[in-house]
């Protein structure tokens, strides 16, 4: 594997990690809000709180890792995306900041206020919508470089394009689906029957829109970036596998069986789709301005980054394992004992 492919794979993997754990977080925020209005908050609040408390900071790091890494491996993305994304990027930061800070304030600090729950719930949907526009823009066609070398985001085009909206919708329903499927597994582990009923319903309700919007995005790419669509067709089997994993995951939840496996299949479903999408997008990071071969960092830096990355993983993997053993897979902690 060349350094270029290795670099983008590493970054893509961290983005995938962020996608899964941030979805759980964002979706949980929305469910907390929704359950507050629908009067079921007391049922699900505890399990969500117990899961999110020790990990919210880790979730954030996955994201930081991705954007620091992409500037390291592909410095030109900083130039193009940095200039074009000033406004959406800044709004995204503000939302993330409010959410992160208030999460901690609320948890360790004082009582909950209703306007804050609304903000917390709304940000659970607004952030994924904002972040998903970066993926849309990377398809090309939404930025242009004028004669002064100024990079301009074609905002109007972005807001009126059916492709960008299909990506936003996919992001939203995925967040709710992934989160609900995880919480179903977690509630079952906690033997919290009341919470389990609530979140299982959420999972099943959001499963159908998820798969429909995935199909919709798939075909929206056909109209927007034909080259990418053709490459996706070449590896169509990956997307078929993703669909199969989806069916297995939902069936398991439907039959209330093997919920741990069910969530693993959810991850596989998104894994296949996400890596398939990414692989077909290569060699471009930002179509057609930044490609992994032409805009890769110099060789010395690439070697150094890969070296540090491997050393970093040696530290991180056992630490993450420790977190999982102490919190996620520790039955007495999960039950709140």
């Amino acid at each position: 594997m060349s350094y270029e492919v290795l670099g983008i794979t590493v970054l893509w993997t961290f983005l995938f990690g962020y996608l899964i754990i941030a979805s759980i977080d964002f979706g949980a925020g929305f469910f907390i809000y929704y359950s507050t209005i629908s009067g079921t908050r007391h049922l699900i609040h505890n399990i969500i709180d117990r899961y999110l408390s020790p990990v919210w900071e880790i979730t954030n790091v996955f994201f930081v890792f991705f954007f620091v890494g992409i500037v390291g491996f592909f410095p030109d993305t900083a130039f193009y995306l940095g200039t074009a994304l000033l406004i959406p990027g800044s709004i995204g930061i503000v939302l993330l900041a409010i959410r992160g800070a208030y999460y901690a304030f609320n948890h360790y600090g004082t009582t909950t206020k209703s306007w804050y729950t609304l903000l917390y719930g709304a940000s659970g949907l607004l952030i994924p919508a904002a972040l998903s526009t970066v993926l849309t823009i990377s398809e090309g066609g939404y930025i242009e470089v004028n004669a002064n070398g100024q990079v301009i985001l074609l905002t109007k085009k972005l807001f009126t394009s059916s492709y960008s909206w299909s990506v936003v919708i996919l992001a939203l329903v995925s967040v709710l689906y992934i989160s609900a499927m995880f919480l179903t597994y977690y509630a079952d582990k906690a033997k919290d029957v009341a919470a389990y009923r609530v979140v299982r319903n959420y999972g099943l309700v959001w499963s159908l829109p998820t798969i429909l919007s995935s199909l919709f995005v798939f075909f929206a790419i056909y109209n927007h970036n034909r080259e990418h669509f053709d490459k996706m067709l070449d590896i169509a089997w990956v997307f078929v596998l993703s669909l199969i994993c989806f069916i297995v995951a939902v069936t398991l939840v439907w039959r209330n069986k093997h919920l741990g496996w069910s969530f693993i299949f959810v991850m596989l479903q998104y894994g296949f789709a996400f890596y398939g999408y990414g692989a077909a997008h290569l060699p471009y990071v930002l179509y057609p301005y930044v490609s992994i071969y032409e805009n890769f960092t110099n060789e010395n830096m690439a070697m150094a980054l890969v070296g540090v990355f491997i050393l970093g993983l040696i530290l991180l993997i056992p630490s993450l394992y420790l977190v999982m053993r102490l919190f996620l897979f520790n039955t007495s902690y999960v039950k709140g004992e």
């Binding site: 020790p54 990990v55 900071e57 200039t83 000033l86 406004i87 800044s90 503000v94 800070a101």
Partner: protein, 441 residues
């Protein structure tokens, strides 16, 4: 004012960093003292110290949260506001940025574990061990990010050819001559500031009538640490001056209004400048600058005459430096006085005026950090990469930076008010005495 993305980008970056460093400093320093208190508590089998660690940790989480989100903000803003600079930095200095993320990751993981496992382990020391990676991670974050800043002050590890950066050596780029003194100064002053903040909390509680043993212990522990870190910070600060004299003489010269290269250079404090660069109304200490720069009253100090005027830093950094040094003098006096009272047989460390001095030392320490950073950053203007890239070249050409400046100003205002309120509420309604009584029952 006309729309100028360069000026606005600089304003927004300084706003974010100015806000972030308050929380970053606490983030780097406080874990050390949490660990110290817990360690003493375990060793002496004294629950009061353990509770101290717990209470500090509880407040620490709030500051960490703000530190994390503002840190994320500055991380992204680097690319959003300085895209051309990051394009170059990505080639040359991405390694320490990347390593910083790892350190942050490491810290985040173990902080989460530490906070939720107070009573989970049979052996008390197991829990204490969990704090080691937090201390290492937070200090390593400071180390790596300061390395990036050192590179911007004194770029090394590449060849500059026809406007292009070639022959990059990522490891050499990390070992800028600016690095050792900068890193040491940042770490030492973070420990000092955090110790003073914790000391001020204890002193304030004592002044408000909570004369419990708990607060006495907290005050003594943190003030002794403050004294030690005051000494090390001052010593390292002196080394920083000597670094400047050799490697960034134009910064030192602008700071000291040293216009002509001379031997036996005087140290200038305060004063004003007229349009011909004549210094008026200043206090001058003969030989001061030569001693500061080279430990030798007869040493030659390079003046601003050696540099074209367009490369000069703004001359008002002189005042910044003077103010910073005044703060340092006050802090040195307070910490020394406290320690003198502590070791003197008839000394009284609980005198009202001395406790008030301790209380005000915390905001002064934060002001020192702010002034120090503004001095350091403005002092390398007009360069974003000294000698390589002008700040104006690195800035975004994007529209609406003004709007974003307003947006972030509001964000920091809200975060600042909210975090203060949460912290005050957290401890006002839950005094240490009450908590101790609860555990004794």
């Amino acid at each position: 004012m006309n729309y100028d993305p360069v000026v606005l980008s600089r304003m927004l970056t300084s706003l974010t960093l100015g806000f972030h460093i308050i929380f970053a400093t606490i983030g780097v320093g406080v874990p050390l003292f949490i660990g110290l208190a817990e360690w003493i508590g375990i060793r002496k089998n004294d629950f009061e110290y353990i509770l101290m660690a717990r209470r500090w940790a509880r407040g620490y989480v709030i500051t960490v949260a703000v530190g994390v989100v503002t840190g994320t903000a500055i991380g992204l803003q680097l690319s959003l506001l300085w895209p051309s600079f990051m394009q170059v930095a990505g080639q040359s200095i991405a390694l320490p940025l990347f390593m910083e993320t790892f350190a942050f990751f490491f810290e985040a993981i173990f902080l989460g574990i530490y906070l939720y496992t107070w009573d989970r382990f049979k052996k008390k020391t197991t829990h204490l061990w969990l704090l080691i990676p937090v201390v290492l991670g937070s200090s390593a974050s400071a180390l790596f990010i300061t390395i990036v800043n050192s590179f911007m002050n004194y770029p090394v590890g590449f060849t500059y050819l026809d406007g292009q950066i070639v022959g990059i050596n990522p490891y050499k780029a990390m070992l800028s001559p600016a690095m050792p003194s900068k890193v040491a100064h940042v770490l030492s002053s973070a420990y000092l500031t955090s110790a003073l903040i914790l000391a001020a909390i204890a002193a304030l509680a004592y002044l408000k009538g909570q004369k419990h043993r708990y607060h006495r212990k907290a005050l003594k522990l943190t003030m002794i640490c403050s004294f030690v870190f005051m000494l090390s910070t001052a010593l390292i600060g002196d080394l920083s001056g000597k670094y400047l004299a050799i490697y960034q003489p134009e910064k030192l010269a602008a700071t000291e209004w040293h216009f002509e290269t001379t031997t036996q250079a005087p140290y200038v404090f305060g004063g004003t400048l007229d349009e011909n660069y004549n210094i008026k109304n200043a206090i001058t200490i003969p030989y001061g600058l030569s001693i500061l720069a080279f430990n030798n009253p007869n040493a030659e100090v390079i003046g601003l005459d050696q540099f074209p005027e367009e490369d000069w830093a703004p001359l008002w950094i002189h005042y910044l430096f003077d103010m910073k040094m005044s703060y340092v003098a006050i802090l040195t006096a307070i910490t020394t006085l406290f320690v003198v009272q502590l070791v003197r047989k008839k000394g009284n460390i609980y005198g009202k005026w001395l406790l008030w001095c301790v209380v005000i030392s915390a905001p002064i320490a934060i002001l020192t950090i702010e002034h120090g950073w503004i001095f350091s950053e403005v002092g390398r203007q007009p360069w974003i990469l000294r000698g390589i890239m002008r700040t104006a070249t690195g800035a975004t050409k994007s529209d609406h930076v003004d709007l974003m400046l307003l947006l972030f100003f509001l964000l920091y205002l809200v975060l600042g008010i909210a975090s203060t309120r949460v912290l005050v509420k957290m401890f006002r309604n839950n005094k240490a005495e009450d908590e101790l009584a609860l555990y004794e029952n």
